[in-house]
C-alpha cells in the first residue's frame, strides 16, 4: 500500500459522479442551515459591523461619529502601547505555536502505542482544554506566585534556584514565555489529539516497508510519520496561531495592565472599554482578524498536503 499525496482540489483521474436527486442535493444544506444562521448572526454580522466601524471615528468622549478612512489605523499604529502589544503578540505566537505543536506531536507519539491506563491519561490530558482561560490564569497565578507558588518552592527544593523568583512582570520575554506556557497548557491537548488521530490512521505496512529499507527511530518519524500527519499538523498550527494571536484571558489575569506582556486583544479591550474609543478598538480587532486569516491560510498552504492510503 502506498500513500498518495495530492494538493487540495486536484482531481482524481478515471472517476465519474453518480446521479443525485434534488432531495439528496438539498439535504446537506438544510442540515447545516441552522449552524449557518447561528454563525452568520453571531460571527459574520458582528465582523461586518466591525469592518465598517474600523473606518468610522467613534469616540464616546469626542462625538459625533464620522467617517475617517484610515484615521483609526493611523492612530493605533502611532500609539506606543499598541506597537508594544504587537511586538508582544508576535512572541506569543512564536511560543504558542512552536510549543503547542511540538509538545502536542511529542505526546501523540508517546500515546500512539497502547499501554495500561492510556485512556485515563488521554482523559486527564484533555482537562486543561476544557477549562476557561481565566480559570487557568488564576490557577497558574498561584503556581507562579513569587511568595507561595509551587514552582518556586519546587525549584528551590531541587536546588535549581537559590531564592524565589518573580516569573512574570519584570522582563518582557520571560513574562511572555510564562504566560504563553499557561495557554500552551490549554491548547496542547487538542494538538495532541489531532496528531494522534492522524497517527492512528497510518497503515502499519508503511512502517514495515520503511524498516525493511533500513529506516528506524528518528528517520522513521522524519520520513514516514511526519509527512503523513501533515494535515493534522496544519490544523494544529492554525489552532495554535488563532489562540496565540487572540490571547486575552491569561494575559489579563497574570499581567494586569502592564505593557510588559500586553497582547493585541488586551490592548483592543483597553482602547474600546477603558478609553471608550470604539473606532480604534474596531480597527485593532479588524487587524487581528485579517492577520489571523492571512497567517492561517499561509500555514495551510505551506504545511497541508492531502493524504490518501
Amino acid at each position: 500500500m502506498s500513500a498518495i499525496f495530492r494538493r487540495p482540489g486536484q482531481p482524481v483521474a478515471g472517476r465519474r459522479r453518480p446521479m443525485r436527486s434534488r432531495r439528496d442535493i438539498a439535504l446537506p444544506y438544510a442540515m447545516v442551515a441552522p449552524l449557518l444562521v447561528f454563525i452568520g448572526a453571531l460571527a459574520l454580522y458582528p465582523t461586518v459591523l466591525t469592518a465598517y466601524g474600523a473606518f468610522v471615528h467613534n469616540d464616546a468622549l469626542d462625538p459625533p461619529n464620522h467617517f475617517t478612512g484610515l484615521g483609526n489605523f493611523q492612530s493605533v499604529f502611532s500609539n506606543p502601547q499598541v506597537r508594544q502589544s504587537l511586538e508582544n503578540t508576535g512572541l506569543y505566537v512564536v511560543f504558542g505555536v512552536v510549543l503547542s505543536v511540538g509538545l502536542g506531536t511529542f505526546f501523540a507519539l508517546l500515546l500512539q502505542r497502547r499501554f495500561r491506563g492510556r485512556g485515563i491519561v488521554l482523559a486527564l490530558m484533555v482537562l486543561p482544554w476544557a477549562l476557561p482561560g481565566v480559570v487557568e490564569g488564576v490557577i497558574w497565578s498561584w503556581i507562579l506566585d513569587p511568595t507561595f507558588g509551587v514552582l518556586n518552592s519546587t525549584l528551590k527544593s531541587a536546588g535549581v534556584i537559590s531564592q524565589y523568583q518573580l516569573w512574570v512582570g519584570t522582563h518582557q520575554v520571560e513574562s511572555i514565555f510564562f504566560i504563553s506556557l499557561v495557554q500552551v497548557w490549554q491548547i496542547t491537548p487538542l494538538a495532541a489529539i489531532l496528531v494522534l488521530a492522524a497517527l492512528q490512521a497510518i497503515p502499519h505496512e508503511l512502517y514495515e516497508a520503511a524498516s525493511v529499507d533500513g529506516a528506524k527511530g528518528w528517520t522513521l518519524i522524519r520520513r514516514v510519520t511526519l509527512p503523513l500527519v501533515r494535515p493534522a499538523l496544519a490544523i494544529a498550527v492554525v489552532e495554535g496561531l488563532v489562540m496565540s494571536l487572540n490571547i486575552f484571558d491569561q494575559v489579563y489575569v497574570l499581567n494586569a495592565g502592564a505593557t510588559t506582556a500586553s497582547s493585541l486583544m488586551t490592548e483592543t479591550y483597553e482602547l474600546a472599554f477603558n478609553n471608550l474609543n470604539f473606532g480604534q478598538g474596531y480597527a485593532l480587532s479588524l487587524l487581528a482578524t485579517v492577520t489571523t486569516i492571512v497567517l492561517s491560510l499561509l500555514a495551510v498552504r505551506i504545511i497541508y498536503r492531502k493524504v490518501e492510503f
Binding site: 464616546a60 468622549l61 502601547q81 497565578s141 506566585d145 513569587p146 511568595t147 507561595f148 524565589y164 518573580l166 512574570v168 512582570g169 519584570t170 497574570l254 499581567n255 494586569a256 495592565g257 502592564a258 505593557t259 510588559t260 479591550y269 483597553e270 474600546a272 472599554f273 477603558n274 478609553n275 471608550l276 470604539f278
Partner: protein
Amino acid sequence: MKSRTWLGTGIAVTALGLGVCAASSASTVKAAPASASIKGQTINVDIAYPAPKVLLAQFTKETGVKVNWDYVQWDNLQTKIASAAEAHSYFADVADVDWSKVGEYYETKWFMPLNSYFPLAGVKSQYPQAASFIRNGELEGMPMDSSMLVTTVNEKDFKAAGIKSDPTTLAEYETDLKAISSKGIAKNPLDIPFAAAEGLSTYWYELTAAFGGQVLSATYQPEFTSPSSAGYKAMTWMINAYKSGLVPKAALDEQDYQAFETDEAHNLTASVFSDYSGDIGTIYNVASESKVVGDVKYIPTPGVNGVGSNLGNPDGIGIPAEAKHVAAAVAFIKWMEEPANQAAFAGADGSADVISTFPLPSNRGGLADLVKSNKVPGAATEASLLENHSRAIFPAGAPPWYSQFSNAVYTNIHSAASGSESVAAAISSIASTVKGLDG
C-alpha cells in the same frame, strides 16, 4: 499632641456631629411610599456588591417592586455598562456609578442626572463624599458607600518593634517600618500593590496627598512634574521603598486586594499606607482567611507635616439613560440610601443584612447608626477620618478621560518599579499623556 489623644478627641467630636446629623437625617432620605405607578414593576439592578437578601425582600414588600439584583464583578460591570451604553441598549434600571467614571458619564450622558430626585443642597449636607458625584452642578449618581483610602497598621508588629505610639508623619512612619524590618518582625513590612492596575494609581494619589499636594489641578493640569512637587516625591518614595526592600518583591505582580489578602492578612507585611476603608472587617478580621485577626487597626494617615488626607474613592449608584422603570429606580435608590439600611449593609444589625466587602455608609445618618451599634471594629475611627480628613481625589471631580490617565499612571509606575524606566521618565510619560488628553 500624641496621635492617640488627637484621635480620641476627633472621634468624640465626630460622634457628636454624626449624632446631630442622625437626628435630622431621618427626614432627608426615605424610601418612597408604595406608589400605584411602580407597584408590580420589576427592575434590574447591576451592582458590584452581593445582594442583601433579607432587606431586599422588605423593600419589595413595602413598595411592590421586585428587584433582580445582579452582582457583577467591578471590572466586568464597567465593560457591561460601556457596551450597553454604546449600543444604546437597556441593561439595567440602576447601575454602579464609580467616582472615577463621573466625568466620563457627564460627557457621554450614559446616566441620567439625578438632581430632580435628590436636591443638591440636601445631598451635599448629608453625604461627606457628595463632591465626587457632582460635575458642573449635575448629580451623576448617589454615593452608595463612603469608601476612602486609609492607612492600616498591624499593631502587634509595631509594639513588638518597640514602637510605642502611632506615627504621625511620613518620616516617623518610614522609621517605624525600618525598625520592624531590622528587628526581623516583618522583613518587608510595607504593602504596595505594584501590579499595573487601578489600585496602584490610587496608592500614588494618596501618597501625593500625604506629601502635601495633588496630582492634577482644578483645571486638570499635571502638578507632579517638578522634582520638588508632592507627586514626584511620592512616586520616588514608592519606588525607593520597593527597591530598598521595604516592600516585598512579589508585590510587583500583586493587585490591591491580592496584596492585602496575601501579604497583610498573613502578616508578611505590617502596614498598608493606602488601604481601603472597611478592609479590617472584610479581610483582616475574617478568621477563616486571616492570620492577623484583631491585630490590624486604622490610623490617621501620616503626612509630611502631620496628619495627611484620606482621599475618597466611593462607589455610587445611578440610573442609566436607557432605563425602563425610572420611578421604581428612584424608589430603590432612596431605599438604598436610608441611614438604617446603609448601617445594616456595613454590619450594624448583624450578619444577615451585611453586604460582604461594603466599606462605610454613604451618609452621615448611616455613619452615626453604625458607630452607635458598636458592632464593627474601627468604625468610629473611620467615621472620624471621613469627617475630618477626607476629600475628593480631584478637586474638580474625575476628568472624563480618567481611565486613560489612570492607565498611564499605573503602567508607568509599574515600569519604574520593575526597573524598565526611571521615575523621571515615568513622570514625563504621565504628564505628556495628560497634555494629550486635556488637549
